[in-house]
Protein backbone atom coordinates (compact mmCIF):
# COMPACT_ATOMS: atom_id res chain seq x y z
CA UNK A 1 0.00 0.00 0.00
CA UNK A 2 1.32 3.41 -0.98
CA UNK A 3 0.10 6.56 0.70
CA UNK A 4 -0.35 9.54 -1.65
CA UNK A 5 -0.96 13.16 -0.73
CA UNK A 6 -2.62 15.16 -3.50
CA UNK A 7 -2.82 18.96 -3.76
CA UNK A 8 -6.16 20.47 -2.82
CA UNK A 9 -7.37 21.03 -6.38
CA UNK A 10 -6.77 17.40 -7.31
CA UNK A 11 -8.40 16.17 -4.09
CA UNK A 12 -11.47 18.18 -5.06
CA UNK A 13 -11.45 16.69 -8.54
CA UNK A 14 -11.12 13.18 -7.17
CA UNK A 15 -13.72 13.86 -4.44
CA UNK A 16 -11.39 12.72 -1.67
CA UNK A 17 -10.26 14.18 1.64
CA UNK A 18 -6.79 13.78 3.06
CA UNK A 19 -4.42 11.08 1.93
CA UNK A 20 -5.37 8.41 -0.57
CA UNK A 21 -3.89 4.96 -0.78
CA UNK A 22 -3.13 2.89 -3.84
CA UNK A 23 -2.24 -0.76 -4.15
CA UNK A 24 0.51 -1.72 -6.56
CA UNK A 25 0.64 -5.02 -8.38
CA UNK A 26 4.20 -4.45 -9.51
CA UNK A 27 7.46 -3.06 -8.23
CA UNK A 28 6.94 0.26 -6.43
CA UNK A 29 8.29 2.82 -8.87
CA UNK A 30 7.32 6.41 -9.55
CA UNK A 31 5.52 5.38 -12.73
CA UNK A 32 3.70 2.53 -11.01
CA UNK A 33 2.29 4.85 -8.36
CA UNK A 34 1.06 7.34 -10.96
CA UNK A 35 -0.44 4.55 -13.07
CA UNK A 36 -2.30 3.19 -10.05
CA UNK A 37 -3.42 6.64 -8.98
CA UNK A 38 -4.87 7.41 -12.42
CA UNK A 39 -6.51 4.00 -12.61
CA UNK A 40 -8.21 4.57 -9.27
CA UNK A 41 -9.15 8.15 -10.06
CA UNK A 42 -9.54 8.49 -13.85
CA UNK A 43 -10.42 12.17 -13.50
CA UNK A 44 -6.75 12.78 -12.68
CA UNK A 45 -5.62 11.59 -16.09
CA UNK A 46 -3.94 14.48 -17.84
CA UNK A 47 -3.70 16.63 -14.70
CA UNK A 48 -0.40 15.26 -13.39
CA UNK A 49 1.12 13.84 -16.58
CA UNK A 50 0.51 14.60 -20.21
CA UNK A 51 -2.00 12.20 -21.73
CA UNK A 52 0.24 11.16 -24.59
CA UNK A 53 3.86 11.68 -23.58
CA UNK A 54 3.26 10.74 -19.93
CA UNK A 55 5.69 13.50 -18.98
CA UNK A 56 5.13 15.27 -15.68
CA UNK A 57 3.37 18.60 -16.15
CA UNK A 58 5.92 21.32 -15.58
CA UNK A 59 4.14 22.90 -12.59
CA UNK A 60 3.72 19.57 -10.79
CA UNK A 61 6.40 18.20 -8.48
CA UNK A 62 6.89 14.87 -6.70
CA UNK A 63 8.36 14.80 -3.19
CA UNK A 64 8.94 12.02 -0.66
CA UNK A 65 11.06 11.64 2.43
CA UNK A 66 12.15 15.26 2.13
CA UNK A 67 13.59 14.60 -1.31
CA UNK A 68 12.56 15.96 -4.71
CA UNK A 69 11.76 13.02 -6.97
CA UNK A 70 10.37 15.18 -9.78
CA UNK A 71 13.16 14.40 -12.19
CA UNK A 72 13.46 10.71 -11.42
CA UNK A 73 12.77 8.18 -14.16
CA UNK A 74 9.33 6.55 -14.11
CA UNK A 75 11.17 3.30 -13.55
CA UNK A 76 13.06 4.59 -10.51
CA UNK A 77 12.23 2.64 -7.34
CA UNK A 78 10.48 4.63 -4.65
CA UNK A 79 12.22 5.14 -1.32
CA UNK A 80 11.80 2.18 1.00
CA UNK A 81 9.78 4.23 3.47
CA UNK A 82 7.25 5.09 0.74
CA UNK A 83 7.12 1.52 -0.53
CA UNK A 84 6.31 0.26 2.97
CA UNK A 85 3.72 2.95 3.65
CA UNK A 86 5.74 4.58 6.41
CA UNK A 87 5.98 7.83 4.48
CA UNK A 88 3.62 9.36 1.91
CA UNK A 89 4.33 10.19 -1.72
CA UNK A 90 3.53 13.85 -2.27
CA UNK A 91 2.14 15.31 -5.50
CA UNK A 92 2.66 19.05 -5.21
CA UNK A 93 1.56 22.03 -7.24
CA UNK A 94 4.69 24.11 -7.76
CA UNK A 95 4.93 27.41 -5.90
CA UNK A 96 4.34 29.78 -8.79
CA UNK A 97 2.05 32.49 -7.52
CA UNK A 98 -1.42 33.06 -8.86
Amino acid sequence: MIRVVLPAHLRNLAHVDGEVTVELEREPTLGAVLDALEAQFPVLQGTIRDHVTQKRRSFVRFYACEEDLSHESPDAPLPEAVATGAEPFLVVGAMAGG
Partner: protein, 371 residues
Protein backbone atom coordinates in the same frame (compact mmCIF):
# COMPACT_ATOMS: atom_id res chain seq x y z
CA UNK B 1 -42.56 33.27 -16.13
CA UNK B 2 -39.49 33.24 -18.30
CA UNK B 3 -36.09 33.83 -16.80
CA UNK B 4 -32.44 34.36 -17.52
CA UNK B 5 -29.33 32.43 -16.53
CA UNK B 6 -26.01 34.23 -16.93
CA UNK B 7 -22.95 31.99 -17.08
CA UNK B 8 -19.81 33.80 -15.99
CA UNK B 9 -16.29 32.44 -16.42
CA UNK B 10 -13.57 34.11 -14.34
CA UNK B 11 -9.87 33.73 -13.60
CA UNK B 12 -10.74 31.89 -10.38
CA UNK B 13 -13.95 29.99 -10.97
CA UNK B 14 -17.38 30.00 -12.58
CA UNK B 15 -20.46 31.81 -11.34
CA UNK B 16 -24.09 31.40 -12.33
CA UNK B 17 -26.47 34.34 -11.98
CA UNK B 18 -30.20 33.77 -12.34
CA UNK B 19 -33.17 36.07 -12.44
CA UNK B 20 -36.75 36.09 -13.54
CA UNK B 21 -37.88 37.96 -16.64
CA UNK B 22 -37.81 41.29 -14.83
CA UNK B 23 -34.03 40.94 -14.43
CA UNK B 24 -34.16 43.03 -11.31
CA UNK B 25 -33.07 40.67 -8.53
CA UNK B 26 -30.28 38.17 -9.08
CA UNK B 27 -29.32 34.97 -7.35
CA UNK B 28 -25.62 34.12 -7.50
CA UNK B 29 -24.07 30.66 -7.12
CA UNK B 30 -20.38 29.95 -7.13
CA UNK B 31 -17.54 29.85 -7.27
CA UNK B 32 -17.89 26.60 -9.14
CA UNK B 33 -14.41 25.08 -9.64
CA UNK B 34 -12.91 27.74 -7.36
CA UNK B 35 -9.31 28.57 -8.08
CA UNK B 36 -9.42 27.34 -11.67
CA UNK B 37 -9.45 29.53 -14.76
CA UNK B 38 -12.79 29.23 -16.48
CA UNK B 39 -12.25 30.47 -19.99
CA UNK B 40 -15.78 29.65 -21.10
CA UNK B 41 -19.02 27.95 -20.19
CA UNK B 42 -22.01 27.63 -22.44
CA UNK B 43 -25.38 25.91 -22.44
CA UNK B 44 -26.80 23.72 -25.17
CA UNK B 45 -29.49 25.42 -27.26
CA UNK B 46 -31.11 22.01 -27.60
CA UNK B 47 -31.20 21.36 -23.84
CA UNK B 48 -30.63 24.44 -21.67
CA UNK B 49 -29.88 22.35 -18.60
CA UNK B 50 -26.87 20.85 -20.37
CA UNK B 51 -23.92 23.17 -19.71
CA UNK B 52 -20.31 22.63 -20.71
CA UNK B 53 -17.37 24.27 -18.96
CA UNK B 54 -13.72 24.73 -19.89
CA UNK B 55 -11.71 24.50 -16.66
CA UNK B 56 -7.93 24.86 -16.67
CA UNK B 57 -4.83 25.97 -14.84
CA UNK B 58 -1.17 26.06 -15.76
CA UNK B 59 -0.60 23.57 -12.94
CA UNK B 60 -3.02 20.80 -13.75
CA UNK B 61 -3.99 21.41 -17.36
CA UNK B 62 -7.38 21.15 -18.99
CA UNK B 63 -10.63 19.68 -17.74
CA UNK B 64 -14.10 19.76 -19.22
CA UNK B 65 -17.06 19.76 -16.86
CA UNK B 66 -20.64 19.00 -17.81
CA UNK B 67 -23.88 19.68 -16.01
CA UNK B 68 -27.17 18.03 -16.84
CA UNK B 69 -29.20 20.08 -14.38
CA UNK B 70 -28.51 23.70 -15.20
CA UNK B 71 -25.33 23.98 -13.15
CA UNK B 72 -26.49 22.45 -9.87
CA UNK B 73 -24.18 19.43 -10.20
CA UNK B 74 -21.18 18.75 -12.40
CA UNK B 75 -19.37 15.81 -13.87
CA UNK B 76 -15.82 15.89 -15.25
CA UNK B 77 -15.86 14.41 -18.75
CA UNK B 78 -13.09 13.83 -21.26
CA UNK B 79 -10.04 16.07 -21.23
CA UNK B 80 -7.87 14.37 -23.83
CA UNK B 81 -7.22 16.85 -26.64
CA UNK B 82 -4.68 15.31 -28.99
CA UNK B 83 -3.88 16.81 -32.36
CA UNK B 84 -4.53 14.63 -35.35
CA UNK B 85 -1.40 13.04 -36.81
CA UNK B 86 2.01 14.65 -36.46
CA UNK B 87 1.29 18.16 -35.18
CA UNK B 88 4.11 19.94 -37.02
CA UNK B 89 4.88 23.60 -36.44
CA UNK B 90 3.33 27.03 -36.68
CA UNK B 91 5.16 30.35 -36.57
CA UNK B 92 6.34 31.75 -33.26
CA UNK B 93 6.23 35.47 -32.49
CA UNK B 94 9.61 35.98 -34.15
CA UNK B 95 8.66 34.03 -37.26
CA UNK B 96 10.60 30.89 -36.35
CA UNK B 97 8.88 27.47 -36.46
CA UNK B 98 7.32 26.42 -33.15
CA UNK B 99 5.80 23.02 -32.35
CA UNK B 100 2.04 22.88 -32.06
CA UNK B 101 1.22 22.33 -28.35
CA UNK B 102 -2.21 22.04 -26.76
CA UNK B 103 -2.62 24.57 -23.95
CA UNK B 104 -6.31 25.09 -23.19
CA UNK B 105 -9.85 25.29 -24.51
CA UNK B 106 -10.87 28.89 -25.13
CA UNK B 107 -14.40 28.42 -26.40
CA UNK B 108 -17.07 25.72 -26.31
CA UNK B 109 -19.87 25.91 -28.86
CA UNK B 110 -22.64 23.37 -28.34
CA UNK B 111 -24.54 22.12 -31.38
CA UNK B 112 -27.79 23.90 -32.15
CA UNK B 113 -29.66 20.60 -32.27
CA UNK B 114 -27.80 17.87 -30.33
CA UNK B 115 -26.95 18.31 -26.63
CA UNK B 116 -24.18 15.72 -26.91
CA UNK B 117 -22.38 17.49 -29.75
CA UNK B 118 -20.00 20.35 -29.00
CA UNK B 119 -17.20 22.14 -30.83
CA UNK B 120 -14.14 23.29 -28.90
CA UNK B 121 -11.76 26.02 -30.02
CA UNK B 122 -8.35 25.54 -28.47
CA UNK B 123 -4.88 27.05 -28.09
CA UNK B 124 -2.67 26.29 -30.03
CA UNK B 125 -5.34 26.94 -32.60
CA UNK B 126 -7.39 23.95 -33.64
CA UNK B 127 -11.01 22.88 -33.71
CA UNK B 128 -12.10 19.77 -31.82
CA UNK B 129 -15.51 18.16 -31.57
CA UNK B 130 -17.32 15.70 -29.36
CA UNK B 131 -20.46 13.79 -30.25
CA UNK B 132 -20.76 11.87 -26.99
CA UNK B 133 -21.39 14.64 -24.51
CA UNK B 134 -17.74 15.46 -23.98
CA UNK B 135 -16.43 12.01 -23.14
CA UNK B 136 -14.13 11.96 -26.17
CA UNK B 137 -12.77 14.75 -28.34
CA UNK B 138 -11.39 14.55 -31.86
CA UNK B 139 -9.65 17.21 -33.86
CA UNK B 140 -11.28 18.35 -37.09
CA UNK B 141 -7.96 18.34 -38.90
CA UNK B 142 -9.01 20.14 -42.06
CA UNK B 143 -8.66 23.53 -40.38
CA UNK B 144 -5.16 23.24 -38.98
CA UNK B 145 -4.25 21.30 -42.10
CA UNK B 146 -5.05 24.30 -44.29
CA UNK B 147 -2.03 25.29 -46.39
CA UNK B 148 -1.63 28.44 -44.32
CA UNK B 149 -1.47 26.54 -40.97
CA UNK B 150 2.33 26.48 -40.69
CA UNK B 151 2.34 30.26 -41.14
CA UNK B 152 -0.15 31.10 -38.36
CA UNK B 153 1.40 33.04 -35.49
CA UNK B 154 0.04 33.85 -32.04
CA UNK B 155 -1.50 37.07 -30.86
CA UNK B 156 -0.52 38.49 -27.48
CA UNK B 157 -2.88 36.07 -25.77
CA UNK B 158 -1.59 33.04 -27.64
CA UNK B 159 -2.50 31.23 -30.85
CA UNK B 160 -6.10 30.74 -29.85
CA UNK B 161 -9.24 29.68 -31.68
CA UNK B 162 -11.72 31.81 -29.76
CA UNK B 163 -14.81 32.21 -31.94
CA UNK B 164 -17.08 29.48 -33.36
CA UNK B 165 -20.29 30.47 -35.16
CA UNK B 166 -22.78 27.86 -36.33
CA UNK B 167 -25.12 28.87 -39.12
CA UNK B 168 -28.70 28.05 -38.03
CA UNK B 169 -29.94 27.95 -41.63
CA UNK B 170 -27.12 25.91 -43.06
CA UNK B 171 -25.74 23.13 -40.84
CA UNK B 172 -22.80 22.68 -43.21
CA UNK B 173 -21.47 26.17 -42.53
CA UNK B 174 -19.14 27.02 -39.64
CA UNK B 175 -17.21 30.27 -39.16
CA UNK B 176 -14.26 30.40 -36.78
CA UNK B 177 -11.66 33.00 -35.86
CA UNK B 178 -8.09 32.68 -34.65
CA UNK B 179 -5.75 35.23 -33.13
CA UNK B 180 -3.67 36.03 -35.08
CA UNK B 181 -4.48 34.04 -38.20
CA UNK B 182 -7.88 35.52 -39.00
CA UNK B 183 -11.30 34.17 -39.88
CA UNK B 184 -12.01 30.91 -41.71
CA UNK B 185 -15.19 29.34 -43.04
CA UNK B 186 -16.19 25.80 -43.79
CA UNK B 187 -19.17 24.96 -46.00
CA UNK B 188 -18.87 21.20 -45.58
CA UNK B 189 -19.34 20.67 -41.83
CA UNK B 190 -15.72 21.39 -41.03
CA UNK B 191 -13.97 19.10 -43.47
CA UNK B 192 -12.34 21.88 -45.51
CA UNK B 193 -11.78 25.53 -44.76
CA UNK B 194 -10.92 28.74 -46.51
CA UNK B 195 -9.67 32.03 -45.11
CA UNK B 196 -12.31 34.80 -45.17
CA UNK B 197 -10.24 37.89 -44.54
CA UNK B 198 -10.67 39.90 -47.75
CA UNK B 199 -11.11 43.54 -46.84
CA UNK B 200 -9.25 43.34 -43.55
CA UNK B 201 -6.24 45.60 -43.18
CA UNK B 202 -3.72 45.10 -40.36
CA UNK B 203 -0.67 47.33 -40.09
CA UNK B 204 1.20 44.99 -37.80
CA UNK B 205 1.90 42.34 -40.43
CA UNK B 206 4.28 42.46 -43.40
CA UNK B 207 1.46 42.55 -45.95
CA UNK B 208 -1.41 44.52 -44.37
CA UNK B 209 -3.98 42.87 -46.66
CA UNK B 210 -2.61 39.32 -46.50
CA UNK B 211 -4.96 36.37 -46.83
CA UNK B 212 -4.08 35.24 -43.29
CA UNK B 213 -2.33 36.79 -40.31
CA UNK B 214 -4.99 39.17 -39.02
CA UNK B 215 -5.69 39.46 -35.31
CA UNK B 216 -9.45 38.99 -35.29
CA UNK B 217 -10.73 39.47 -31.74
CA UNK B 218 -14.35 38.35 -32.07
CA UNK B 219 -17.19 37.88 -34.55
CA UNK B 220 -20.95 38.11 -33.92
CA UNK B 221 -23.97 37.13 -35.98
CA UNK B 222 -27.72 37.57 -35.70
CA UNK B 223 -29.19 34.06 -35.98
CA UNK B 224 -31.95 35.14 -38.34
CA UNK B 225 -29.47 36.65 -40.80
CA UNK B 226 -26.40 34.43 -40.78
CA UNK B 227 -24.76 35.95 -43.83
CA UNK B 228 -24.22 39.23 -41.99
CA UNK B 229 -21.23 39.12 -39.66
CA UNK B 230 -19.81 41.83 -37.41
CA UNK B 231 -16.15 41.67 -36.38
CA UNK B 232 -14.12 43.40 -33.73
CA UNK B 233 -10.60 43.18 -35.04
CA UNK B 234 -7.47 44.15 -33.08
CA UNK B 235 -8.09 47.59 -34.54
CA UNK B 236 -11.21 48.22 -36.68
CA UNK B 237 -14.82 47.15 -36.46
CA UNK B 238 -15.77 45.32 -39.64
CA UNK B 239 -18.92 44.06 -41.35
CA UNK B 240 -19.55 41.37 -43.92
CA UNK B 241 -22.79 40.86 -45.84
CA UNK B 242 -21.66 37.70 -47.59
CA UNK B 243 -20.76 35.32 -44.74
CA UNK B 244 -17.23 36.64 -44.53
CA UNK B 245 -16.29 36.48 -48.19
CA UNK B 246 -15.60 40.22 -48.04
CA UNK B 247 -15.46 42.79 -45.25
CA UNK B 248 -15.76 46.55 -44.98
CA UNK B 249 -14.88 48.80 -42.09
CA UNK B 250 -17.78 50.25 -40.07
CA UNK B 251 -15.82 51.86 -37.21
CA UNK B 252 -17.33 55.22 -38.15
CA UNK B 253 -17.40 57.66 -35.24
CA UNK B 254 -16.17 55.32 -32.50
CA UNK B 255 -13.73 57.06 -30.13
CA UNK B 256 -11.30 54.17 -30.72
CA UNK B 257 -11.87 51.13 -32.88
CA UNK B 258 -9.71 48.84 -30.74
CA UNK B 259 -11.62 46.42 -28.56
CA UNK B 260 -12.48 42.80 -27.93
CA UNK B 261 -16.20 42.20 -27.44
CA UNK B 262 -18.96 42.62 -30.03
CA UNK B 263 -22.55 41.40 -30.15
CA UNK B 264 -25.86 41.89 -31.96
CA UNK B 265 -29.25 42.77 -30.48
CA UNK B 266 -31.58 39.78 -30.17
CA UNK B 267 -34.42 41.34 -32.19
CA UNK B 268 -32.84 44.14 -34.21
CA UNK B 269 -30.53 42.80 -36.86
CA UNK B 270 -28.80 46.13 -37.45
CA UNK B 271 -28.22 46.97 -33.79
CA UNK B 272 -24.65 46.18 -32.76
CA UNK B 273 -22.71 46.69 -29.53
CA UNK B 274 -18.99 47.15 -28.90
CA UNK B 275 -16.91 48.33 -25.95
CA UNK B 276 -14.15 50.60 -27.26
CA UNK B 277 -10.80 50.11 -25.54
CA UNK B 278 -8.11 52.78 -25.70
CA UNK B 279 -5.35 50.90 -27.52
CA UNK B 280 -3.55 47.60 -27.96
CA UNK B 281 -1.26 48.35 -25.03
CA UNK B 282 -3.70 50.38 -22.92
CA UNK B 283 -6.44 47.83 -22.29
CA UNK B 284 -8.98 50.11 -20.65
CA UNK B 285 -11.71 52.51 -21.79
CA UNK B 286 -10.75 55.96 -23.07
CA UNK B 287 -10.77 58.72 -20.45
CA UNK B 288 -11.51 56.29 -17.62
CA UNK B 289 -15.16 56.14 -18.73
CA UNK B 290 -16.75 52.77 -19.32
CA UNK B 291 -19.07 53.14 -22.28
CA UNK B 292 -20.77 50.64 -24.51
CA UNK B 293 -21.28 51.93 -28.03
CA UNK B 294 -24.42 51.00 -29.93
CA UNK B 295 -25.05 51.30 -33.63
CA UNK B 296 -28.63 50.99 -34.83
CA UNK B 297 -27.53 51.17 -38.45
CA UNK B 298 -25.27 48.14 -38.68
CA UNK B 299 -22.16 50.18 -38.01
CA UNK B 300 -20.65 53.54 -39.02
CA UNK B 301 -22.90 55.59 -36.71
CA UNK B 302 -22.38 54.82 -33.03
CA UNK B 303 -23.83 56.28 -29.84
CA UNK B 304 -22.29 56.00 -26.37
CA UNK B 305 -24.29 54.22 -23.67
CA UNK B 306 -23.13 55.27 -20.24
CA UNK B 307 -26.15 55.50 -17.95
CA UNK B 308 -25.33 53.41 -14.91
CA UNK B 309 -21.75 52.66 -15.96
CA UNK B 310 -18.74 54.19 -14.16
CA UNK B 311 -17.71 57.46 -15.80
CA UNK B 312 -14.68 58.25 -13.70
CA UNK B 313 -11.44 56.42 -12.94
CA UNK B 314 -12.53 53.20 -14.62
CA UNK B 315 -9.64 51.18 -16.10
CA UNK B 316 -11.05 47.71 -16.65
CA UNK B 317 -11.07 45.67 -19.82
CA UNK B 318 -13.91 43.71 -21.42
CA UNK B 319 -12.59 40.53 -23.00
CA UNK B 320 -13.71 39.00 -26.29
CA UNK B 321 -16.15 36.41 -24.97
CA UNK B 322 -17.46 38.59 -22.15
CA UNK B 323 -20.54 40.08 -23.83
CA UNK B 324 -23.88 38.41 -24.52
CA UNK B 325 -27.54 39.16 -25.07
CA UNK B 326 -30.74 37.53 -23.87
CA UNK B 327 -33.76 36.95 -26.08
CA UNK B 328 -36.53 38.37 -23.90
CA UNK B 329 -38.94 40.82 -25.52
CA UNK B 330 -36.99 43.75 -24.15
CA UNK B 331 -33.52 42.58 -25.10
CA UNK B 332 -31.01 42.32 -22.27
CA UNK B 333 -27.33 43.09 -22.85
CA UNK B 334 -24.64 41.78 -20.49
CA UNK B 335 -20.90 42.19 -20.20
CA UNK B 336 -18.23 41.36 -17.66
CA UNK B 337 -15.04 43.22 -16.82
CA UNK B 338 -11.56 42.36 -15.68
CA UNK B 339 -12.50 44.26 -12.52
CA UNK B 340 -15.02 41.57 -11.63
CA UNK B 341 -18.25 43.37 -12.43
CA UNK B 342 -21.00 42.01 -14.62
CA UNK B 343 -23.16 44.81 -15.98
CA UNK B 344 -26.63 44.23 -17.38
CA UNK B 345 -29.13 46.32 -19.26
CA UNK B 346 -32.72 45.11 -19.63
CA UNK B 347 -33.61 47.82 -22.15
CA UNK B 348 -31.22 47.29 -25.05
CA UNK B 349 -28.43 49.27 -23.43
CA UNK B 350 -30.17 52.48 -22.42
CA UNK B 351 -29.70 51.83 -18.69
CA UNK B 352 -27.13 49.66 -16.95
CA UNK B 353 -26.47 48.29 -13.51
CA UNK B 354 -23.91 45.94 -12.03
CA UNK B 355 -25.62 42.65 -11.16
CA UNK B 356 -22.44 41.52 -9.38
CA UNK B 357 -19.61 43.80 -8.31
CA UNK B 358 -16.69 41.86 -6.97
CA UNK B 359 -16.02 38.65 -8.84
CA UNK B 360 -12.53 37.65 -9.97
CA UNK B 361 -11.57 39.03 -13.38
CA UNK B 362 -14.29 38.05 -15.83
CA UNK B 363 -13.19 36.12 -18.89
CA UNK B 364 -16.51 35.13 -20.44
CA UNK B 365 -20.23 35.84 -20.19
CA UNK B 366 -22.97 33.78 -21.81
CA UNK B 367 -26.71 34.13 -21.35
CA UNK B 368 -29.47 31.56 -21.49
CA UNK B 369 -33.04 32.70 -21.92
CA UNK B 370 -35.17 30.19 -20.07
CA UNK B 371 -38.81 29.33 -20.77
Amino acid sequence: MSGVRVLVGTRKGAFILTSDGKRDKWDVTGPHFGGWEIYHLKGSPADPNRIYVSQSTSWFGQLIQRSNDGGKTWEAVGNKFVYDGVPGTHQWYDGTPHPWEFKRVWHLEPSLTDPDAVYAGVEDAALFQTTDGGQTWEEMPGLRGHDSGPHWSPGAGGLCLHTIILDPRNPSRIVIAISAAGAFRSDDRGKTWRPINRGLRSEGIPNPTAEVGHCVHHIAMHPSRPDVLFMQKHWDVMRSDDAGSSWREVSGNLPTDFGFAIDVHAHEQETVYVVPIKSDSEHYPPDGKLRVYRSRSGGEEWEPLAKGLPQKDCYVNVLRDAMAVDRLDSCGIYFGTTGGQVYASSDSGDNWKAIVHDLPAVVSVEVQTLP
